[in-house]
C-alpha cells in the first residue's frame, strides 16, 4: 500500500484494458462452459464468422460502423463530463429524419440524398441530445436520468408515428414506405462482390471521417480544449472563462448527431424503410465501445471492430451452436462493460504496487528513496490519529 505510484502511460492505456478484457472473456468462456459447450470451439466459430470470409467481414464492418457512431456519441459527451446513455433514443428519433428525406428525394441521386439525410438525421438526433444537455446545463437535471427517460419517450413517439402516421394504408405492419432508388445507401458489394450479401455501405467511410473529425475537434481545436477542460475540472473551466453550459449543450448536441448517423446506416443501408426498434440496442453498445476505447478515436475504432466481430460472429455462433443463443453477446457485452468500466480499478491497485516495487528495487541501489519513508510516516500518523 505504501509504495503505490501512478502507472506508466503504456500500462494505463494498454496493459489495464488488456487485463480487464481478458478477464471478461475468461468469464464469458465459463458461461459457455456452463451451458455445456466448448469455449475454444466457440471462439473459433466466432472468429471465422467475423473475419473468415467476405460476407462475414462485411457484416462485421457494418456493425462496427454503428458502433463507431454510438461510441463517439458516448465519448464526446463523456469528454465534457456528461454521461450520455441516450444514444439509443437519439438514433431512433434520427431515423425519422433519414427516412423522410430519403422518401422525398427518392427519385434524385444518392449524392443528393445522403448529405441531406445526414443533416436531417443529425439535426433530430442532435436535438434529442441537446434537450438533456440543456436541462443539465441550465436546470441542473441529471443527464443520466434525462437520457434514460428520453430513450423511452423516443420509443413511444416512434411507435405512435409508425402506427398512425407513417404506416402505408395497404400495409399491416407498422413500418414506413420503402425507398427504392436514390434513398438507398450505395452498398460496397455493388463495387466489390467479395462482401456477398453483407449490408456494409458508404456510411463506413462516414464513420471513419467521424473518427478523424472527433480527433481534430477534441485535440486540435480550441473548442475541443474547452470540452476536455470542462470534463476534467469544471471549476477550472469556469475560472478560465469557459461557458460551461454552452459547452455541455454543444457537446451533447454533437453526441446526439453522431448517434443519429446510425439511422442512415440501418434505415437507409439495410431496411430501406423505417421499422420498429431498428436501433436494436446498438446505442447501448456505444457505452461499452467508448469505455473500452478509452474515449479516444483510435480506441473507439478498435473497440467498434471488436464488438462488430462479436455481433457478427455471435450470429454465426448461434447458428452453428444452437445452445449459444444471441443473448451470449449481451452477456459478453455486460462483462466487458463491467470489467473495463466499473471494475476498472480491479487490477490498478495490485499493478501500482508491483510497479512501485520494481521502481523501488531499481532505486534502492542508488541510495535513499525518499517517497516510501514519507508515506510510512504518513501512515504512522494516520494510525495514531485513528486510535485517538
Amino acid at each position: 500500500m505504501s509504495v503505490r505510484k501512478p502507472l506508466p502511460r503504456w500500462a494505463d492505456l494498454i496493459l489495464i484494458p488488456f487485463l480487464n478484457l481478458t478477464l471478461a472473456f475468461l468469464i464469458s468462456g465459463l458461461v459457455v462452459l456452463l451451458i455445456g459447450e466448448n469455449p475454444l470451439e466457440a471462439v473459433q466459430i466466432l472468429l471465422y464468422g467475423a473475419f473468415g470470409y467476405g460476407e462475414g467481414l462485411g457484416y462485421t464492418l457494418h456493425f462496427a460502423t454503428n458502433f463507431v457512431f454510438a461510441g463517439l456519441a458516448f465519448s464526446i459527451a463523456s469528454h465534457a463530463g456528461q454521461f450520455n446513455i441516450g444514444a439509443e433514443g437519439q438514433a431512433y428519433i434520427a431515423g425519422l429524419g433519414a427516412i423522410l428525406v430519403a422518401l422525398a428525394l427518392d427519385q434524385t441521386h444518392w449524392l443528393i440524398v445522403m448529405p441531406l439525410a445526414m443533416l436531417a438525421a443529425g439535426a433530430l438526433g442532435g436535438f434529442w441530445g441537446f434537450v438533456p444537455g440543456y436541462l443539465a446545463a441550465k436546470r441542473g437535471s441529471h443527464v443520466v436520468i434525462t437520457t434514460i427517460m428520453f430513450n423511452f419517450i423516443a420509443a413511444a413517439i416512434m411507435v405512435y408515428l409508425l402506427n398512425n402516421v407513417l404506416k402505408e394504408p395497404s400495409n399491416m405492419a407498422p413500418e414506413s414506405a420503402s425507398v427504392v432508388n436514390a434513398g438507398k445507401m450505395p452498398q460496397l458489394r455493388e463495387f466489390w462482390d467479395y462482401f456477398g450479401y453483407a449490408p456494409v455501405n458508404v456510411m463506413m467511410f462516414v464513420a471513419i471521417a467521424a473518427l478523424i473529425f472527433t480527433y481534430i475537434l477534441l485535440w486540435r481545436t480550441e473548442f475541443g480544449y474547452k470540452i476536455r477542460t470542462l470534463g476534467k475540472n469544471s471549476n477550472a473551466a469556469h475560472y478560465a472563462g469557459i461557458s460551461n453550459s454552452a459547452i455541455v449543450m454543444i457537446s451533447m448536441t454533437i453526441a446526439g448527431a453522431m448517434a443519429g448517423m446510425i439511422a442512415l446506416n440501418e434505415v437507409l443501408g439495410v431496411q430501406n424503410r423505417l421499422v420498429l426498434d431498428f436501433v436494436f440496442g446498438y446505442g447501448f453498445v456505444g457505452i461499452a465501445v467508448g469505455l473500452m476505447g478509452r474515449n479516444h478515436p483510435i480506441g473507439i475504432a478498435l473497440a467498434a471492430i471488436l464488438f462488430g466481430a462479436l455481433y457478427q460472429g455471435g450470429q454465426e455462433l448461434a447458428f452453428m451452436m444452437p445452445a449459444v443463443t444471441r443473448e451470449m453477446i449481451l452477456v459478453i457485452q455486460a462483462l466487458v462493460i463491467l470489467f473495463t468500466g466499473a471494475m476498472e480499478g480491479l487490477f490498478r491497485g495490485p499493478l501500482e504496487t508491483i510497479f512501485g516495487m520494481i521502481e523501488l528495487s531499481k532505486g534502492s541501489s542508488n541510495s535513499s528513496p525518499s517517497s516510501p519513508v514519507g508515506t510510512q510516516k504518513k501512515n504512522a500518523t494516520a494510525s495514531v490519529s485513528k486510535e485517538n
Binding site: 458461461v31 456452463l34 451451458i35 455445456g36 454521461f83 446513455i85 436541462l135 436546470r139 441542473g140 437535471s141 441529471h142 443520466v144 436520468i145 434525462t146 434514460i148 427517460m149 428520453f150 423511452f152 419517450i153 413511444a156 413517439i157 411507435v159 405512435y160 402506427n163 398512425n164 447501448f284 457505452i287 469505455l291 445452445a323 449459444v324 443463443t325 443473448e327 451470449m328 453477446i329 449481451l330 452477456v331 459478453i332 457485452q333 455486460a334 462483462l335 462493460i337 463491467l338 468500466g341 466499473a342 471494475m343 476498472e344 480499478g345 480491479l346 504518513k378 501512515n379 494516520a382
Partner: protein, 323 residues
C-alpha cells in the same frame, strides 16, 4: 353503477401493476439514500423473476421461488457493491452492465435449461402466489359501494401485494426512526460524518445494496410467480426504469414513493384499458402518450419546472477514507 364497477376494476388493476414498481422503487430508495446510484433495478428485477420462476418450476413451491429470486437479485446487488463500493467504480456503468448481464443470462440459461425459447415452464397451483380472500369478502360483496371496494379492491390479492404495501410504512419507520436509518441516510448525505462517528461507511452501503437486492428480488418474484405464470424474455419491460423515475418523482421519500408508483401504475392500467377504445370527442386515444407520460413527467420534474427533485448529496460518489 356500471361506471363504478369499471372504475373499481381499473383501480384493482392499478394495484396489481403498482406492486412491482413500488417494490423496485423502495429498493432504489435504500440504495440511493445510502449514496449508491442504482440504474440496475431493471436487471435485478429481471434476474429475480427468472430465479423465482426457475426454482418455483423445479420445486413446485412459490416460497422457494421467492427465496431464489431474492438470492439471485442479492448476488447482482453484491456485484454492484463490489464494483462501486470496494473498487470505487462508476455506479452508472456498473448499473448498465448489470442490466445487460441480467437480460443476457436469463434468456441464455432459460433456453439451455428449459428449451422454450428462454421462457420457463408454466407454473400452476402452489408454484404461484395465489390470491388471498380477506375475511367476509364474500359476505360483503353485495353491499353497495363498500362491498365492491372491499371484496374487489382490497381482498383477493396475493400475499406479495400486501407485503409490498406493508413495506412502505416499514421503510418509513426504518429510515426515519431507527439508528440504522439515520446512519444509512447519513451515508448518502455526508459519509465523512458517519466515518467520524466510527461507523464503517462501506459496510453500511453494502447493507443498503443488499436490502435493494432483497426488494428487487421480491419484485421479480411477483412478476414471474404471482402476476404471470412463469418467466418470459425481458418481462420487466422497462419497469425498473419507471421505478427509478418514480423514485425521483417521490423525491426519495417512502410514502411519496407509494403515491408516485400508484400514479404510474394507474397510468399503466389506464393505457391497457384504453387500447383500441374510441372516446367521445377525442376519438382513439394514442396509448403511447400515456405510456410516455411517466417519463415526461419525470423529465419535467427533474428540470425543476414543477417542484425540485434533489437527490442525496453524496449520491454516486465512492467514499474514500483519508489516508
Amino acid at each position: 353503477m356500471e361506471f363504478f364497477n369499471s372504475s373499481i376494476f381499473l383501480l384493482d388493476s392499478t394495484v396489481r401493476l403498482t406492486v412491482p414498481l413500488l417494490l423496485a422503487c423502495l429498493a432504489g430508495l435504500y440504495s440511493e439514500r445510502a449514496g449508491i446510484f442504482d440504474i440496475g433495478l431493471e436487471g435485478k428485477m429481471l434476474a429475480g423473476a427468472f430465479g423465482a420462476a426457475t426454482v418455483a418450476a423445479l420445486t413446485g413451491s412459490a416460497l422457494y421461488g421467492l427465496m431464489a429470486g431474492m438470492g439471485v437479485s442479492i448476488a447482482l446487488s453484491l456485484i454492484h457493491g463490489i464494483a462501486s463500493i470496494t473498487f470505487r467504480g462508476n455506479q452508472i456503468i456498473s448499473g448498465v452492465a448489470i442490466n445487460f448481464l441480467a437480460a443476457g443470462l436469463t434468456t441464455l440459461l432459460g433456453q439451455t435449461w428449459f428449451r422454450q425459447g428462454g421462457r420457463t415452464p408454466q407454473l400452476s397451483g402452489d408454484a404461484r402466489f395465489n390470491g388471498i380472500e380477506l375475511p367476509f369478502a364474500k359476505e360483503l360483496a353485495d353491499v353497495p359501494i363498500i362491498g365492491g371496494l372491499y371484496s374487489e379492491l382490497l381482498s383477493g390479492h396475493n400475499i406479495l401485494v400486501y407485503l409490498a404495501f406493508a413495506t412502505v410504512p416499514l421503510t418509513y419507520y426504518v429510515l426515519f426512526h431507527t439508528r440504522f436509518g439515520l446512519r444509512l441516510r447519513a451515508c448518502g448525505e455526508n459519509p465523512k460524518a458517519v466515518d467520524t462517528a466510527g461507523i464503517n461507511v462501506n459496510f453500511m452501503r453494502y447493507k443498503a445494496v443488499i436490502i435493494t437486492g432483497v426488494l428487487c428480488g421480491i419484485a421479480g418474484a411477483y412478476l414471474a410467480t404471482a402476476q404471470s405464470a412463469g418467466f418470459g424474455n425481458n418481462m420487466t419491460a422497462g419497469k425498473g426504469f419507471i421505478a427509478l423515475a418514480a423514485l425521483i418523482f417521490a423525491k426519495w421519500m417512502p410514502i411519496k414513493a407509494m403515491f408516485a408508483t400508484l400514479l404510474f401504475g394507474f397510468l399503466d392500467a389506464l393505457q391497457i384499458r384504453l387500447q383500441g377504445v374510441e372516446l367521445p370527442f377525442i376519438g382513439e386515444v394514442p396509448v403511447q402518450f400515456i405510456q410516455a407520460l411517466p417519463y415526461v413527467l419525470t423529465v419535467i420534474l427533474l428540470a425543476g419546472f414543477i417542484g425540485k427533485a434533489v437527490g442525496p448529496k453524496a449520491g454516486g460518489i465512492p467514499y474514500v477514507k483519508e489516508r
